[in-house]
C-alpha cells in the first residue's frame, strides 16, 4: 500500500553510486546511510543520484549529513547528481554544498571524482 523507498548501489572502482527513488525521509535517509556503511571500507567517493527523488525532509537530510561526516573522516567526498530544483535549493540553504559537490549527471560526477 505504501510506495517503498528504493535504492540501488553500484561500486565503480572506489566510487559508490547510489540511485534513489522516493521520499528521502527517516526511512529513505536510513537506507542511504546503510548502503554507504555497507561499502565504506572499499570506497572513498559516493555519487548520490536523486533523479527519482523529488521530495526530502530534514530527517532525511540529517542522514545524508551523517554520511558526509563519515566520508569527511577518511577524506572522502559526496557528489549529488540529477537534483530537483527544490531539493537543490534546500541543500544550499542547509549548507550541504560546503561539504559535498553536485553535478548534473552521474557521468559528470564520475569525472569529478577522478
Amino acid at each position: 500500500m505504501i510506495p517503498e523507498f528504493k535504492i540501488t548501489s553500484t561500486v565503480n572502482s572506489r566510487t559508490l553510486i547510489l540511485v534513489t527513488s522516493g521520499y528521502i525521509n527517516n526511512v529513505g535517509g536510513q537506507k542511504i546511510l546503510d548502503a554507504y556503511v555497507s561499502q565504506q571500507d572499499v570506497i572513498d567517493t559516493v555519487v548520490l543520484n536523486l533523479a527519482d527523488s523529488h521530495i526530502v525532509n530534514s530527517i532525511g537530510i540529517s542522514f545524508v549529513i551523517e554520511m558526509i561526516e563519515k566520508l569527511g573522516k577518511k577524506s572522502g567526498k559526496l557528489i549529488f547528481t540529477n537534483l530537483d530544483p527544490t531539493i537543490d535549493k534546500t541543500f544550499t540553504i542547509m549548507g550541504l554544498y560546503h561539504f559535498a559537490k553536485k553535478a548534473a549527471t552521474v557521468e559528470e560526477a564520475l569525472a569529478l571524482s577522478n
Binding site: M1, I2, P3, G22, Y23, N25, N26, H54, I55, V56, N57, S58, I59, S62, I65, E69, K73, T86, K89, T90, I93, M94, G95
Partner: protein, 534 residues
Amino acid sequence: MENESFSQSIDKLKFQVKSFQEGFSLLVQSGDLQELGRNFHHLLRGNFLVTDFCLFHKNGEAWRRVYGSTFEETDVTTWLKPSDQFVFESVSGQKTRLAITLPLIDQTHFGLLIGQKLDRSDFGETDTIALHIFLQQLDNAYQFFISQKKEKQFSFDLNHRVVQLNSLIDTGIELSKLNNNSTLFETSVERVVSITNASFGVLQIMEKGNLLREYSIPEGVPGEFILKSDNLIQSEIEFQSKTYLFTLADKESRAGAVPFEATDELLLGAFARQVLTALENEAHHEESIEIEALKRELSVAADIQKKIIPTKLPDIAGYELAGLNIPSKEVGGDYYDCFPLGDGRFALIMADVAGKGVPAALLVSTLNASLSAYMSMNMPLKDLAGKLNSIIYKASPADKFITCLIAVLEPETGKLAFVNAGHNPGFVLRTDGSMEKIDAGGIPLGMLNMGLPFDSAEIVIQPGEKLLLYTDGIPEAMNEVEEEYTDEKFEQFFQTHSHPSPEKFISDLLEDVKLYTGSAPQSDDITVLYLGRN
C-alpha cells in the same frame, strides 16, 4: 643513583605534561563517542602502557558499550557502580584493575574499565594523579563534544527554519502563477509534507460530502489510509462550494514518530490559504478572460449592427421622416429601417430582438436580409410575416425571437398597410388630436412555427397626421426607483407635445424620458421612427 631516579621522574613528568597538552587537542578532535573512546585509549596506552580498556555510556538505566571489546558484560555489572558520583576504584578483577564512573555535564555517565599495565605493576600515586587529569580532560572533551553537537543542531534547526520560510515564499510565488491547475495541488501537498517532516500528506477535494479527487504524498497512498493515523493535523478551506481538506500524518524525527508542533499547524494553515488565494486568482483570471471575450463579441456585434441600422433615411415627397436608435449596451437588439420598394412605395420597419450581443445582431441581420429579399416581391404582408416567421424560427435558438412591425406606405394616397408581429403598437395622431393604434398582426417572429396566421390591416395617413413607431425602451425606461416611464406617459407626450419637426419631436421626447429616468442607467435600447405627412 638517586640523581638518576630523580632525573627519570622529571623526564616522565615532562612527558606527561606534554601528553596532557596533546591529549586534550586529540580528544576534542573526536567526531563521536566511539572516536572519543579510541583517542582516550591512545592516551592510556601511551602514558600507562595499558592495552585493556573499554568505555561505556549510561543515559538512564543501562550501560551502553561505546568503545572497546576487552571486557565482558559481567565485568560491567560487577565493577561499574550505578552511582551519580565520581567513582575511582582500584579493583582486583581477572582483567580489571580500575573501574571509574564519571558523571557528565548532561546528567549522563561514562563508565571506564581499565586493565593492568603491560609491566603488571600497580597504578601508583603519580599514575593516579595523571589519570585524574586525563579524566578531567575526557570530561572537558565530552563537554566540547556536546557543545559542538548542540551548535550543529542549532545551526541545522536554524537552516531548517530558513528552508521552511523559503519554501513558503517560493510555493506562494509558484502557486500564484496562472494556469498551473495541473500542479497546484500536488505542489502544495509535496512542499508542506517536506517542510513539516510529515511521513504522509493528502489533499482531499470534496463537494457536499462526496470525495471528488485526492492528491497524496507519497504518491499512491490512499487518503483513507493516511486518515487512520492517530498523529495528524488538518486544515480546511472552502471555495466555490467545494471543501479542500489538507491532512498531514506521522511527524518524523531521528528517534521515531513525534507529535506535530504548533509551527507545523501554522505552516499547514499558511499553505492552505496560499492554495485558496491561487484558486481565487485563477477564478478572477478566467472571469476577466470571459469579460474580454464578451467585449470582443460585442465589438463584432456592434460592427454588424452599424451596417444594418440606416445612417440616412430616404426622402419621401410630401412627408417628413426621422429615426433614432440608442443602444443601452454596446450592441442592442433593436432595429429600424425605411427603404424604397422600387414601385414608389416605401417599407417602414421597427423590430426588437429578444436578447443582445452577437446572437441578437445576427438575428437582426437575418431579418434585414430576408426583408430585402421578400419585400420587393410585393407579397401580402400577412404572408410575408408568415414567411419571415418561418425563416427566423429556423435561424434562432429557442429563447430568441423578434417582435416586428412592418408597414408599407403608398406616399401619394397616404395608404399604410401594416402587420404587427407581437411588437408595441404604432400610433397615428389624427388631425383632430385623436390617436389610433396599429396593432393587427400575430405572434413575434420566430417564437412558434405552427402555421399560426398573421393578420394585417390598412389605414390612411392624411395630411398633417403623424405616425410613430418605437420599441419598448421608451415606455419601459426606468428611474432610480425602478418605476417605468409607462405607455400612458408616452402616448400622452405624443398626443399633446408640439411637433415642429420629426427631429425636434424625437429630441424632445428623449429629453422628457431622460428627465424622468434621472441618473438611472439606460435600461434598454431606445428606437423611434417618426413619419409626418405634410
